[in-house]
């Protein structure tokens, strides 16, 4: 009996730990973007998944002609797979659809760097990154 209790306690602790580990990197990354967004604009309060959605679908026209929007390759529906101009299928960007997607902050930054350049023709602001990421986490 006692053993069972200890085991189940240990199991719950492990589960809790792994859940924290899953949520951890994204929260830390969002906190970093938030600090940077506040530093850039004192009036900034919080990220908005709604703004992130508009950003995801907006055609910018500052980058490459064949990729005017995030949605050009990543699908307007973030829970569905996307398609790169190379013909390669891209896993869905919604966190619920591809759970491990945002576990590595360096990888997230790498793709913001590449894709913002291709779509907007410039780097994304911390607020844009935070809004977009919040949208994906909400999906």
């Amino acid at each position: 009996m006692k053993h069972k209790l200890i085991l189940s306690l240990a199991f719950s602790a492990l589960t809790a730990l792994s859940l924290t580990a899953q949520a951890g990197p994204i929260d830390t990354q969002l906190a970093g973007y938030k600090a940077a967004a506040q530093a850039a604009d004192a009036k900034f309060t919080a990220f908005s998944a709604e703004r992130g959605k508009a950003f995801h679908n907006r055609a910018f026209g500052g980058g490459k002609p064949d990729t005017p929007a995030c949605a050009s390759c990543h699908n307007e529906n973030p829970r569905a797979a996307g398609l790169a101009p190379t013909g390669k299928v891209i896993e869905p960007v919604a966190l619920s659809a591809t759970p491990g997607r945002y576990a590595d902050p360096a990888k997230v930054e790498k793709w913001f760097k590449r894709n913002c350049q291709e779509v907007l023709g410039r780097a994304c602001s911390p607020q844009e990154k935070g809004d977009w990421l919040s949208y994906m986490v909400s999906q």
Binding site: K64, A84, P85, T86, G87, K88, R114, Q117, E118
Partner: protein, 167 residues
């Protein structure tokens, strides 16, 4: 006394023969001209296989890989640059498995007709590649499930495992 054979004996024999020839056939393809070992390195797969299929290193000569990895900031119009250490590791893998490495075991046939000094960056520029695909009509390349000549998988369904049979 007459030996009694199992009634299914001919069927079993036929099945075994078929299985054996299927096995031989697979082996033949693996050693044949249409096999290009897929990328086996996790980092290379990740960095060279996110935007397009991770092409087999055996599809270009070492000099092409070196040239490409030396100009990732302008990779067919995209900035695909990598940290220097990672770039060096990936270049090393590509060069070690290039078409002209290992005595050209997998890649030498695809290099036929290519001058020893030219270092093409596109596999589709190789003379042998162009000869092999000369019968593919333009409308097929434009098909919405093909879109680009870089999309090997659209026609070569087993390309990710390294097999590029005539389809």
């Amino acid at each position: 006394m007459k030996t009694k054979y199992h009634p299914l004996r001919p069927v079993i024999f036929a099945g075994l023969t078929l299985a054996a020839s299927a096995l031989l056939w697979t082996q033949a393809i693996a050693d044949g001209k249409h096999f290009f070992p897929p990328v086996a390195d996790a980092k290379v797969k990740e960095e060279c296989g996110s935007c397009h299929m991770a092409f087999s290193p055996a599809m270009l000569p070492a000099r092409s890989w070196q040239k490409m990895m030396g100009d990732l900031g302008n990779h067919f119009g995209d900035d695909a640059s990598l940290a220097p250490q990672l770039n060096a590791e990936i270049t090393d893998y590509l060069v070690r498995n290039a078409a002209d490495a290992n005595n050209g075991r997998y890649g030498s046939k695809l290099m036929r007709g290519l001058s020893a000094t030219s270092a093409p960056l596109r596999i589709t520029e190789l003379p042998k590649w162009q000869r092999e695909h000369r019968e593919v009509p333009a409308w097929e390349w434009r098909h919405k499930e093909v879109r680009t000549k870089a999309n090997c998988l659209a026609c070569h369904v087993d390309a990710e495992r390294g097999y590029y049979d005539d389809d």
